[in-house]
């Protein structure tokens, strides 16, 4: 696959041709062969999370930001911070009316921050048209009142990373397919000192992407279709909680209550746990550091890793929660047009591609077109299931619309805490009742 140089030449050629067609924005800028008249020293400040694939951040900061800066005639400053700190940063910025021009938005945050975001429908609809449309999850989460208030960027799929050889030892040549099988396998492995690792802490990624699908797949839900009635206190939800209690005691590393999103990666790489729900980062990092990360036989660890889809079968269905994300342009920003131009530039196929490839399946694009990318046929077999992972994801607030109230419930970790309280000893019915009370304060206030 050719690198940046050819891309730029190709890009400039094609836009030179497009210059014949009267157009505004990027094409016009490049056709005029000079940078637009931004004020001298204009900086575009973008705040994103620290990507779990360090190479992707490297591509963004060292390749894409300078290139975009040249193309747009301004300095692009990409700041990456701990994902759990993005939300407080956004709150502070909105309240003080000053801060980054573009913020990384997770899940359905555009619903929560709708009063402070700029309408980016023109950018979003253009990209969607060109690239065969966004995945279904973005419509309820990034679109508010018919307007796109966030520009979808990518979806981080998750799956269970597991040690093939260990599961074989306890009689599972393939990863358990049902909830009951998982219980059996992990119980056997925990007896050998290799438990399943799952966090139930207050962390944005691994905890909710386990908890919500567990509830959904057993048939539970936060609200009914209207989104106004809390229905979480059901037999199905209680059953899912009882399952979690059993799995926790029999098969899980009980330290998981204090884990954040990095602990399971570290524990897996250290050979402390047999499997864990995660994005593709465990495999990718193990592969990229194959000289450092070895298994107990001294072989590169990544060779013993494979992935299985989550959630498992055996309940009422299989409904995952993937980490969909994108960018929002802030209303207080003085560089709104520049910000939109940057997003337009970023999502051009030639520019998005190096970032997409650096992710190697950890993040997939927000548009469905990228499923056809040749990278998928070339990447390792364990990573191939991430190609279509993004198609099926739900978003929280189910079964109602994914509103700001659903975000509030997520930010308060109510569903996660329901399971956390239960595994700490609370009766399943009481834990569910607690969650119902808390959710009612939000949805039925």
């Amino acid at each position: 696959m050719s690198t940046g140089d050819v891309n730029r030449r190709h890009f400039l050629k094609s836009t030179g041709a497009a210059a014949a067609v009267a157009s505004t924005g990027i094409e016009g800028i490049l056709a005029a062969r000079r940078a637009p008249a931004w004020a001298q020293g204009t900086k575009l400040h973008i705040v994103r999370w620290v990507d779990f694939i360090p190479e992707a951040d490297k591509v963004l900061k060292e390749k894409l930001a300078p290139e975009a800066g040249k193309a747009l005639g301004a300095e692009i400053q990409v700041e990456t911070i701990n994902a759990n700190d993005v939300q407080p940063r956004i709150t502070a910025a909105i309240q003080s009316g000053a801060g980054a021009d573009i913020f990384f938005l997770m899940y359905n945050w555009p619903q929560l921050y709708q009063k402070a975001l700029v309408d980016v429908s023109d950018v979003a609809t253009a990209v969607a048209k060109e690239q065969a449309g966004f995945y279904g999850v973005f419509e309820p989460s990034f679109r508010v009142g018919g307007k796109w208030l966030g520009m979808p960027h990518s979806i981080v799929g998750n799956a269970i990373s597991y040690r093939k050889s260990w599961f074989k030892e306890v009689g599972f040549s393939e990863f358990p397919k049902t909830w009951d099988e998982l219980r059996k396998a992990t119980a056997a492995l925990k007896k050998k000192g290799k438990p399943y690792g799952q966090t139930l802490g207050h962390t944005f990624g691994d905890a909710p992407t386990w908890a919500y699908p567990l509830m959904w797949s057993f048939g539970g839900a936060e609200t009914d279709k209207s989104g106004k009635k809390v229905v979480i206190n059901s037999k199905d939800t209680v059953e899912s909680v009882r399952y979690m209690q059993a799995l926790w005691k029999e098969g899980c590393d009980e330290g998981g209550l204090a884990w954040d999103d990095t602990n399971n990666n570290r524990a897996f790489h250290a050979g402390d746990i047999c499997a864990t729900l995660n994005g593709a980062s465990i495999y990718i990092v193990a592969k990229r550091q194959k000289d450092k990360l070895k298994d107990e036989r001294g072989e590169p660890l990544f060779q013993d890793i494979d992935h299985a889809l989550y959630p498992l079968a055996g309940g009422k269905g299989q409904y995952p929660l993937y980490f969909s994300n994108g960018h929002g342009v802030m209303q207080y920003s003085k560089n709104q047009k520049l910000a939109k131009d940057f997003l337009r530039w970023l999502h051009k196929k030639e520019n998005f591609e190096p970032w997409f490839q650096a992710c190697e399946g950890y993040s997939v694009a927000a548009t469905t077109d990228w499923e056809k990318h040749p990278m998928w046929s070339k990447i390792d077999k364990p990573l191939q299931l991430f190609r279509t992972a993004a198609r099926e994801t739900r978003i929280f607030g189910y079964a109602g619309p994914s509103t700001g109230k659903a975000t509030e419930a997520f930010s308060k970790y109510i569903v996660v805490d329901m399971y956390a309280k239960a595994v700490q000893g609370m009766k399943a019915e009481d834990a569910v009742k607690w969650a119902e009370t808390e959710l009612k304060k939000i949805y039925e206030a």
Binding site: Q95, G255, D260, N263, A270, Q424
Partner: protein, 321 residues
Amino acid sequence: MTSPIAREAGRAAPLEVALPRPGARRRLGGGMLENERALAAVLLAPAVVLLGLFIAYPFVMGVWLSLSSTSVGNPGRFVGLTNFVKAWNDSIFRTAFGNTFVYTFWATIFKLVLGMWLALLLNRHFRGKRLVRASMLLPFIVPTVLSTFAWRWMFDPTFSVLNWLLYQTGFIVTKVPFLSDGTYALWCAIVVNTWRGMPFFAITLLAGLQTINPDLHEAASLDGANGWRRFWHVTWPLLKPVTLVVVVFSVIQTFSDFQLIYVLTGGGPANSTHLLATYAYQVGVATGLLGEGAAISLFMLPVLFFVVWLQLRYLRRLEGA
């Protein structure tokens, strides 16, 4: 006009003596430097401005926020005491409220006892006394976030060096859930806070000890008092005022502690180690419900106010007696 002294001295040679003359005052900045009231106002102004800007203004804003339905991006409207009622009925708030008292109470007791003990030890003469006194301050000086990160690493659920040590020396067979169990986690936080705050107590009490006349101890021991009785009947009464001051400061800081819990546990597991400050942050800043967050944090005010009032009243009585 010359003074008698000058006249005497001046018999030998005329002495030029500069004496203040009535007109001089006006030449020195319009009398401001001589007028005590004006000077006091000028000198206090910077402090008042700083206090007003960084303490009073945020406080008033906080009160206003707590009485409104403000959330991130929404200015909100006046809702009276709704946020306070909502907080009071919130089970997580009640846990945080209780935790704050438990945390403050036990940490203060430990810091006082250990700090006093350390101060008594350091009050003696021994080789390297200065070095020990200086290095003892390190836990207090090192930035909280930094030291708490180190402690968090030591308590790590998977890689804890303490668990490893206990396991290797045969004291335990399964991992101690330092941070993954709510009760353990709160006590870990108390331990870290004690470790951090003990030097503050020690150094302040040491200063107090040094003002006690050693003759009093001598007299007491001559009268047959042992170490404990000397402490209880001589040292402690004289140390009470200093102790009260340091306890007030410590209670205020510990009750409103944020950094330590935020870094050590984040309020987890499952909200079981939240203090009022960290929960207010989670609700107000992380979730964006600023009005509710402000209300939660304001619950600290009456408690702290009462503590300060009680202890100052006791101090005044002590000094009066």
